[in-house]
Amino acid sequence: MDQKGVGIMEQPVVQARGIVKRYGHVTAIDHSDFELRKGEVLAVIGDNGAGKSSIVGAICGATIPDEGEILIEGKPVHFTSPIEARDMGIEIVYQNLALSPALSISDNMFTGREIRKEGWQGKYLRMLDNAAMEKFARDKLTELGLMTVQSIKQPVETLSGGQRQGVAVARAAAFATKFIIMDEPTAALGVKESRKVLELIQDVRARGIPIILISHNMPHVFEVADRIHIHRLGKRLCTIDPKDYTMSDAVAFMTGAKQPPEQDAG
């Protein structure tokens, strides 16, 4: 991922320009830009209240911007809900994971997009095809090296924190065709489990699906990110290459202790 110059020429997966979002007198997003390129892990960092979640929310339908345009693979989009974004192949791994504890792993992977049986049972009786869903879930988890869970029918509440995170990531990876957004995926995890999630992120990137990673954990960000989007006071301050800067530089930019480098449009 060192071809800096080439990346600009290629059409970005997401390109947002001049996004504005106001809540009453508060401007959460102030003419901010955003860009996600093919096959990259883009980390989004910023102080609390800088508007990281708002800007990422704008490209996945969670927040509806007041101004600005969003292009996904070059086509303008106007999402009004995360469900619309999801229908386009944009998956989100929420910080709270959005799993239903009492439902099984395979049920959770398919909530909202269940597979029905073929033929009259599915058509008229709307019967679910559990076998097909369980097979799919098992395959996806195995692909990501997560099959330590005893059974795909196990309720999610019986899994450890890392395993749950794994289920949520597997769900996103299984259905994402455009990109995946991960909100603080390692915040609640121990050292070993965080490591596993970072490996998962690299696995998913290796499949060519770009990832937007919102995180406060600088070591993790610097380890997996190809570019870092630094958000400050409601707008993109700059994007940096983690290989050119240190963590303290990033923190200094993010908190305003240091001026960002001069930048071209990218």
């Binding site: 709270n96 959005a98 799993l99 239903s100 909202g112 997560l146 050292v191």
Partner: protein
């Protein structure tokens, strides 16, 4: 989480020691050393087992105490008949409780719709069939009204249905003029309203159609809840509504359908109640909503939503019926029947809490 494959960039310094650390996946001590623990686990996985066991034990106990009178086919079918209306209401109530809601207005919807059907068919001369259709649609409307307040105005279900309970009750008093419609009038003008009062005999047991309807309602709901995506969504909403929302379920639409369907089932119970009671009385089933909640709770469906099987509510209703019948046949005063049901509720909820404390 097999052997960690060496990633391109090996993590942070402090993580280097991980190579030396234990590599097997955290294993939980799976020995459930005590029998009690094992039972707790079994029940956690099969929440309907509790009401089934209680039902079997109480059948055996009352069989021993009250003897042959109790265990006769006739008495058992009589219990089925007696619980049929509350059973159907409990089915409607279960749907709502599974979504972590509660509906205090089920019985009011039921009686209101039976009054609507009666007024139209007996007094207005509308053909029974159409009167029933209007009543059933009215039930859907009443349910949707609850659902609308809950999903659009975001009122808590308890408050919403506390309000609509009064509203529906006042409406039914107004429509009926607080007067019952006598059985003879129904027989003369609209006998079809009493359809579910008809019965047939099977080797000494008298099965009424209302009992059959109850079973059909439970089987249909059981199918919908366990075999369709809609059912999954109902459970997911009760489990964690926010998570359900985020994982792409249109929760408000599903909730609305739950309340509409529940209203429909209440109206169906209203039709069945005309046959069961033989007349249409605005004062009947005043405590029906509480009785339905009792059946649901005894049936092991969690009041916090998302857990339990709809069949539990059927067993819950049957347990109440068995207790009433058994205690009566044993010559126990009615007040002690009420006393016993009260204890059943508390024990059922205590067991539910105990099962939930299981750590897998």
């Amino acid at each position: 989480m097999s052997e960690p494959t060496t990633p391109a960039r090996k993590g942070q310094d402090y993580e280097q020691v991980l190579d030396g650390s234990a590599n097997e996946v955290a294993a939980f001590d799976v020995q459930h050393n005590t029998t009690l623990k094992r039972i707790q686990h079994l029940l956690h996985n099969n929440p309907t087992l509790v009401p089934v066991i209680v039902l079997v034990i109480s059948l055996i106990a009352f069989g021993l105490i009250a003897g042959g009178k109790f265990f006769s086919a006739f008495n058992l079918s009589l219990i089925l008949q007696q619980v049929s209306i509350i059973g159907i209401l409990a089915a409607a109530q279960s749907l709502i409780i599974l979504t972590a809601g509660i509906d205090l207005s089920v019985a009011a919807i039921m009686v209101l719709m039976s009054v609507v059907m009666g007024n139209l068919a007996v007094f207005a001369g509308v053909p029974s069939f159409f009167a029933i259709i209007v009543g059933l649609f009215g039930g859907v409307g009443a349910g949707l009204m609850n659902g609308w307040f809950i999903t659009r105005i975001k009122l808590p279900p308890f408050i919403t249905t506390l309000g609509t309970w009064s509203i529906f009750y006042a409406l039914l008093l107004w429509l009926s003029g607080a007067q019952s419609i006598r059985g003879q009038d129904i027989d003369a003008n609209a006998p079809f309203l009493k359809f579910f009062g008809a019965s047939f005999d099977v080797s000494g047991a008298r099965i009424t159609l209302s009992s059959v309807l109850m079973i059909v309602v439970f089987v249909a709901l059981c199918y919908m809840l366990n075999k369709t995506a809609w059912g999954r969504h109902v459970y997911a909403i009760g489990d964690d509504k926010e998570a359900a929302d985020l994982s792409g379920i249109r929760t408000d639409r599903t909730l609305l359908s739950v309340y509409g369907l529940s209203g429909f089932i209440c109206a169906l119970a209203g039709w069945a109640s005309i046959g069961r009671v033989g007349s249409i009385s605005p004062q009947s089933f005043y405590e029906g909503n509480l009785d339905s909640i009792t059946a649901v709770v005894i049936g092991g469906i969690s009041l916090f939503g998302g857990r339990g099987s709809i069949l539990g509510a059927l067993f819950g209703a049957l347990i109440v019926g068995v207790f009433r019948s058994g205690l009566r046949l044993s010559g126990v005063d009615v007040l002690w029947q009420v006393f016993a049901i009260g204890w059943l509720i508390i024990i059922a909820v205590a067991i539910d809490q105990w099962i939930r404390r299981v750590s897998a």
